[in-house]
Subunit: 62 residues, 6 copies
């Protein structure tokens, strides 16, 4: 705790995930006073066909 | 906002997702007075091995 | 299955939720060929302080 | 209802998922007095690159 | 890891949650070979107005 | 997109959430190349009775 679930488009590199994990954890520790060992982050990757905003799939946006 | 996460079995076509995204968004706008641009939908697809009801995997149901 | 989780601002009436549940379920049945009895919907209500877009809390937007 | 979402590392066999589904459902029925038919479980499998604790990806831990 | 999110109706006692946490964790350790210290469980409690199946709110079922 | 769901103990101030929202969004923009307007964050707050690790409720830990 805290648990952070990040849902994002497939395609980020492991290096990008590494940086995200470090920075989001730092934010939770410094701003929310969470214990560092207790911060858990998961990345859920989805495709452009599995995300829609304003009623339109991302795959259908130009 | 609102955010709608749909967890369903793999296998729907992009055309089915397109229709779902449009209809769910319309419902949120018309019935819940959400701003259309703010409605976000994600589809999480899982297999019959990753879903259980009444204690039994879908993969094990006849 | 399918499972639909709707995260939205607190304040909708039960009548609005009733309509959303009916319409989203109809969409899943008609467009995704889900079995009606298997469609499960949950509403998670949050406050304007617990939602941010573009880095700004909704509570802080004018 | 209840809905149980299990996020875990990829790699469990169908037999392991079968046992987990049965045992978690039994716990919900016996300890939380849930109706058996209403217990729904989903497994979301992720890779070691998509999970971090204490700011470090599991893929980076020795 | 694993992370287990349990969405259920409000009203369970702390003693029920205590037993659920223990049993679900045991299942993850014994059947999925998870490390005990790494099993995290969260309970999200919702009302009968915030849950629907087959298109009908639980609050509307007799 | 991306969508970030933060589940944490109740008790953070609005100022803490404000900072978290800003920093997590910056991380998504700078490290994951997300469009700033598309980053959505939700905070789900739970009690010590609704969180367990290693099979024990946080409320039961000394």
């Amino acid at each position: 705790m805290p648990l952070i679930q990040v849902t994002m488009l497939k395609g980020r590199t492991i290096e990008q995930k590494r940086k995200l994990a470090a920075r989001i954890t730092d934010a939770m520790v410094e701003d929310a006073k969470a214990a560092k060992e207790a911060v858990v982050i998961t990345f859920i990757e989805i495709t452009r066909e599995d995300y829609a905003s304003a009623g339109v799939l991302l795959a259908d946006k130009k």
